[in-house]
């Protein structure tokens, strides 16, 4: 049985296979484990790998699984990502800018029809006392401004869209 999980931009394919009391786990055809003794409680899952029992806290939320291990926490996406909710560099989006974090739209220093150069600041979003400048991915003309200054915005929503020649 194969499962696909994504961490940031990295895809993991995990296959589980049950043999008697053991589960064979293979990750990306590279890492192989034999685990056993699964016990799941409300927010903790435990299993044995070699001579160690791992007790791992988790949480679930729609298409995400959250797992804490060794001080780090991992957020895995279970389904193919749609644009909203995805976390990819703003530059990749081509003709728009969006904020990687929810926050307050502090400033939109451009107007409809403005000609802007790649790297020009199109919007400033503030969250938790940190300001983030969103810069034009390429040269273009401001085609659409979806929010106004003072609006509370979510992550990954296009704020300013450009016409790119």
């Amino acid at each position: 049985m194969e499962f696909k999980l994504q961490y940031f931009d990295k895809q993991y394919s995990v296959t589980l296979e049950k043999k008697d009391d053991l589960y064979g786990v293979v990750i990306n055809d590279e890492m192989k484990y034999q685990v056993s003794d699964f016990v799941r409680q409300q927010n903790i899952i435990s299993f044995r790998l070699n001579e160690t029992i791992y007790n791992i806290y988790f949480a679930e939320d729609r298409d995400k699984v959250y797992v804490a291990f060794g001080g780090d926490s991992f957020i895995f996406d279970l389904e193919k990502r749609t644009t909203a909710g995805a976390r990819r560099p703003v530059e990749e989006r081509g003709n728009s800018v969006s904020s990687p974090m929810p926050g307050l739209l502090v400033k939109v220093p451009v107007s409809l029809g403005d000609k802007v150069a790649a790297g020009a600041t199109l919007a400033i979003v503030e969250a938790m006392k940190m300001q983030n400048e969103l810069r034009a991915p390429s040269d273009g003309i401001v085609k659409k401004i979806n929010f106004k200054e003072g609006d509370q915005i979510d992550a990954f929503q296009p704020i300013v869209e450009l016409d790119i020649e």
Binding site: I45, D61, M101
Partner: protein, 501 residues
């Protein structure tokens, strides 16, 4: 003693102050903005009052409203915590005018220490070393140029008001100077409403060592030793420890005396911290006075046994400090780690959101000062600090081991956080050796980001959770009969939930 105190803050520091109040038998009034109506700090208050909408300007920075609700509530004093209005001399004056006690320094001392140029002058006059640089404000570029030449490059341009690195620029040569001053002015203006900047010699790779001082209205003054706060990210302290590895007893005593002289010279009252830079040759220079209870105050509490917040309240109520300098001592070693809602793997972007699972570390020598609970929302409007882990142990090495394990067992799921990043600092050889400086993080940041060596374990856990999610999903989607026919991973894999020993 006061009968009732209003706590004009939120998060962990509001909780900390409320705990001190209830142990003193003082009633508390909490305040909250619209987004904070279910915030954690309100669970610790005897009463709670709404003070405005979510933006800080409308609520936690709303001086008029806060004074108004204080009067209406019958509270005799306001504790401002840190941040927000804690070092706002205008607020301290407004309290004085309204006949409410501001639990902090008097407004005159607060104004003096808030002005970096004025406090440099005061401090120089009493013979405490300051970093060579300008001692007055000017708009004249030529004066900046001459001073830079006099002290030698690199120099640093700083805002006269405020802190946190805003308006700060390091300048390496004459050519950059003018544009850096201009940029510093713009940033200072936008951050603090005042574009005054000044210039001083830039001390390379210094250590940041500060001394905690208490002074009462009767003039009794005592210092409670140092805190080393050199582990900083973008001028923001994230790990602090005491005692500092950089001081010996002689230097410690000398700096402690200097700190007390600074506090006395400013006629400062209540708790204050005198910050120093220590250069590679162990010369120390006065940096500034922090006129508030500091985020890192618990490590001083752990090694001296002195409750700082309680002392703040007692001093504000007019009581005398009964501690004598030769009776306070440092016992063992303490470290604090600040837990932030930020993503070390994505340029430390803030990460507000809902906390789905929360498990705090506990046990001998571990203290967690927290502002969150499982199920709470971490709003995007405020500082990203979630909580602080403070540990104490007999020795520095045990203290580091304790902190590393405490962090490893601190579970916050739902939002991204810096716990793993902090743990890796604890496990770093350079930190363990104790020989570090304020550029430590900048120089080592790349090594401190997770390498995901353990992602296999996390993936095993996540996959089993996913297999059950799928099973539940399938069971909902289909009828029982259809479910029997379909090859769900669940049936294929067997039911592992209840399997035990």
């Amino acid at each position: 003693m006061f009968k009732k105190i209003l706590i004009a803050n939120r998060g962990e520091i509001a909780v900390r102050v409320a705990r001190a109040c209830r142990e003193l038998g003082v009633a508390t009034v909490g305040v909250y903005s619209t987004t904070d109506k279910s915030a954690y700090h309100l669970r610790f208050m005897d009463d709670a009052v709404w003070i405005g909408d979510s933006p800080p300007q409308a609520s936690y920075l709303n001086i008029e409203k806060i004074i108004d609700v204080t009067k209406k509530s019958g509270a005799e004093a306001i504790h401002p915590g840190y941040g927000f209005l804690a070092e706002n001399a205008q607020f301290a004056r407004a309290c004085e005018d309204a006949g409410v006690v501001f639990i902090g320094p008097n407004s005159k001392a607060l104004a003096l220490v808030g002005d970096k140029v004025a406090s440099r002058t005061t401090v120089k006059a009493i013979g405490v070393p300051i970093i060579p640089g300008m001692e007055g404000l000017t708009e004249e570029m030529s004066i900046f140029k001459n001073m830079a030449k006099e002290v030698g490059y690199p120099v640093i341009v700083k805002a006269s008001l405020g802190g946190g690195g805003k308006g700060m620029r390091i300048v390496y040569n004459d050519e950059e100077l003018e544009s850096c001053v201009a940029a510093g002015r713009r940033e200072a203006k936008s951050a603090f409403g005042d574009d005054s900047v000044y210039l001083e010699k830039y001390v390379d790779r210094p250590r940041h060592v500060e001394f905690q001082v208490l002074r009462d209205h009767q003039g009794n003054v005592v210092h409670l030793f140092e805190r080393e706060c050199s582990i900083q990210r973008r001028h923001q302290k994230i790990i602090e420890e005491t005692p500092s590895q950089a001081l010996d007893d002689k230097l410690r005593a000398k700096m402690g005396e200097a700190a007390k002289k600074v506090i006395e010279a400013a006629d400062y009252t209540n708790a204050g911290t005198v910050e120093f830079l220590l250069d590679e040759n162990k010369n120390f220079y006065f940096l500034e006075v922090n006129a508030r209870v500091q985020v890192e105050h618990p490590i001083t509490e752990m090694v001296t046994g002195v409750d700082l917040v309680r002392h703040q309240i007692m001093i504000a109520a007019g009581e005398r400090i009964t501690l004598k300098q030769d009776e306070v001592s440092q016992h063992g070693h303490a470290i604090e780690s600040r837990i932030y809602a930020e993503d070390p793997e994505n340029n430390f972007l803030p990460s507000p959101g809902k906390i789905l699972t929360l498990v705090e570390p506990s046990g001998p020598g571990i203290r967690v000062d927290s502002g969150i609970y499982q199920g709470c929302d971490v709003p995007p409007q405020y500082d990203p600090i979630l909580s602080k882990v403070i540990v104490w142990a007999e020795t520095r090495s045990m203290s580091i081991s304790r902190m590393s394990h405490a962090l490893q067992h601190y579970i916050i799921l739902g939002i991204r956080n810096n716990i793993g990043f902090l743990k890796r600092i604890m496990d770093t050889q350079k930190f363990i050796e104790g020989n570090y400086h304020t550029h430590f993080l900048d120089e080592n940041e790349a090594d401190l980001i997770s390498k995901h060596d353990d992602i296999g374990i996390a993936l095993i856990a996540a996959t089993f959770i996913a297999s059950e999610k799928k099973r539940v999903y399938d069971a909902r989607a289909g009828t029982r009969a259809e479910l029997q026919k379909s090859m769900t991973p669940w049936r294929e894999l067997g039911h592992w939930e209840i399997c035990g020993h």
